[in-house]
């Protein structure tokens, strides 16, 4: 088991009264598996993802339960040990590829940044070589040129590919994808989904795929978690959930998918 989330919860303390954002979430993720989390906005799915990536703010917030990555609790690890995992074992890509890259830094340097931090034994030439091969792996045409480009010179789809290349550069065990295709065109969406599936097969990386889009979740996931209002509603194999949902909320969600009758 790569990741185990036990009774995880978050309580915000930035207003007069504490607010529960996530409560009693338990699930696990095996190495090489693709786990989908589906839910409306405010369901707590992105907060759960950020918590696993160690990116929750440190103040004004109480974390409960445990998130074990390879047996270590990510929630209570000291910052230095957490940073060892971030970018090396646990990587994340985000919803907005337009703003997730630094506008004043060349793509190449951003792709190889994780190597700079985690693989100090590599020299500049070795890092460049690895970055170029990652850019080629995400099917970007002309990696050499992309390497020298700035983010504004690339399209949204290309930038999300760059984000994936930057995440995969250190050979992580877990890739967290938080609504990675929401900001993209439908055709580009399909390409990115295919790419994630290919990377999952080839690199044996586990993927936590978060989306509000049920058809995407069905297409990519092996197993699915359904979340609502910060709680886990239902979890199971993808076909089981989609064909035989147990909970009313899941049924409602499924019935909301528009169907095209042919």
């Amino acid at each position: 088991m790569l990741l185990e989330c036990k009774d995880f919860g978050i309580e915000f303390h930035d207003h007069d009264r504490p607010e529960r954002a996530v409560e009693g979430v338990s699930f696990s993720l095996d190495a090489g598996e693709i786990l989908g989390i589906v839910g409306e906005s405010g369901s707590g799915k992105s907060l759960t993802a950020l918590a696993i990536a160690g990116l929750l703010p440190r103040k004004k917030l109480k974390k409960e339960g445990e998130i074990l990555f390879d047996g270590q609790d990510v929630l209570r690890m000291d910052r230095k040990a957490l940073r060892e995992l971030q970018g090396d074992e646990i990587c994340m890509i985000f919803q907005e590829p337009m703003t997730a890259l630094n506008p004043t830094m060349r793509i190449g340097l951003q792709v190889e940044e994780a190597l700079r931090i985690h693989h100090r034994e590599m020299d500049a030439a070795a890092r460049r070589e690895r970055a170029l091969s990652c850019l080629a792996d995400v099917e970007l045409p002309d990696p050499e040129q992309v390497y020298e480009s700035y983010p504004h010179q690339l399209s949204g789809g290309m930038r999300q590919r760059v984000m994936i290349a930057a995440a995969m550069v250190g050979g992580p065990q877990l890739l967290i994808a938080d609504e990675p295709t929401t900001a993209l065109d439908v055709t580009v969406q399909a390409q990115i989904i295919k790419l994630l599936q290919k990377i999952n097969r080839k690199e044996k990386v586990a993927i936590l795929f978060i989306s509000h889009d049920l058809s995407l979740i069905r297409q990519i996931s092996h197993r699915v978690l359904v979340m609502q209002n910060g709680r886990l509603v239902e979890q199971g194999e993808v076909e089981e959930i989609f064909e035989h949902p147990c909970k009313d909320y899941t049924k409602q969600l499924l019935s909301a998918i528009p169907r095209v009758e042919l």
Partner: protein, 313 residues
């Protein structure tokens, strides 16, 4: 290339306009070089005679264009009060003011950037609040007052230097630099306070950007995130301010030069205005205007250097 040609032409036109305005200003304010040289006891007839001798009785436009023609031939004219070629006089003063400006700017940069980074890293901490309070105070205190204060503390109480003991750069460059340290501190302090304030708030607003979260997700420490990612993006408003600050130091160190008894451009500008010595005033003002224009150009170039999106056109 065409852009730079256009910029060069517009700079030249600006300088022409500035020179005309200065000339016109001397027409409007009472008194001229002849009356100020002869003093208040001179008779009307002797002033008129001198005015004729100096060519001041010619029509305004004629005088302006003959001066302008001289400029294009590389002759900035002769000072009325010092009877020396203006170009030589100014050239001699330039190293003094330029050194003072460079020292002040280096101090401003070296102190403000680390202080702003610290202040932003520990935002709302005790350190940050102390820096904020200090900044508010120092921004409000004018340079010349700081100069007077420092002369009193370091010159008269502690006796670290001799007040008014300016040494010419031609005589002893080391001693010259040493004497300029305190004046440049006095000039730098308010600029430094402003820089810290600008950079701190730019860093804090940049810190909420998505790419910062991406950087953290790669395992960078806060300091690495600030130095490698945030600083470059947060530098833009500061560079604009620094460009203005350099122009301001060249032109506006007059009072500090006066307080520390430094014979720089500021001093010569003040005495020349008092003497209605317009060839000198024209030259100094044109020099200041040229520095302002050049700084704007430099800021423009730096913007392009930092932000690749501006390089697109």
């Amino acid at each position: 290339m065409k852009v730079y040609l256009r910029k060069a032409i517009s700079m030249l036109l600006t300088l022409l306009a500035v020179s005309f305005i200065v000339f016109a200003a001397f027409e409007i304010i009472p008194g001229d070089a002849a009356s100020s040289r002869l003093g208040s006891n001179a008779t009307q007839a002797s002033v008129e005679a001198l005015r004729h001798e100096m060519g001041l009785d010619r029509p305004f436009l004629l005088r302006y264009f003959s001066w302008l023609g001289g400029c294009f031939r590389g002759n900035l004219g002769t000072s009325y009060s010092y009877h020396m070629p203006v170009a030589g006089m100014i050239l001699e003063k330039i190293p003094i003011t330029v050194t003072l400006t460079i020292l002040s700017m280096l101090l401003t940069m070296a102190v403000s950037v680390p202080l702003a980074l610290l202040s932003a890293k520990y935002a709302n901490s005790r350190l940050d609040r102390a820096v904020y309070a200090g900044n508010q105070f120092l921004m409000a205190v004018p340079s010349f007052f700081l100069g007077i204060l420092m002369t009193w503390v370091f010159g008269m109480v502690l006796r670290w230097f001799k007040p008014g003991g300016y040494v010419s750069y031609k005589k002893d460059f080391g001693a010259f630099l040493g004497y300029l340290i305190l004046p440049s501190v006095a000039i730098a302090i308010p600029k430094c306070a402003m820089s810290v304030k600008l950079l701190r708030s730019a860093i804090l607003s940049e810190a909420n950007r998505d790419y910062v979260r991406t950087a953290y997700s790669r395992g960078l420490s806060t300091m690495e995130v600030l130095y490698r990612h945030v600083l470059k993006n947060a530098l833009m408003p500061l560079i604009t301010f620094w460009g203005m600050a350099v122009a301001d130091m060249i032109a506006g160190s007059i009072v500090v030069e006066q307080v520390f008894n430094i014979p720089g451009l500021g001093r010569i500008l003040l005495t020349s205005i008092a003497n209605r010595d317009y060839p000198v005033v024209e030259a100094v003002i044109l020099l200041i205007a040229a520095v302002v224009l050049l700084m704007n150009l430099l800021v423009d170039l730096l913007y392009r250097r930092i932000d690749p999106r501006l390089r697109a056109e």
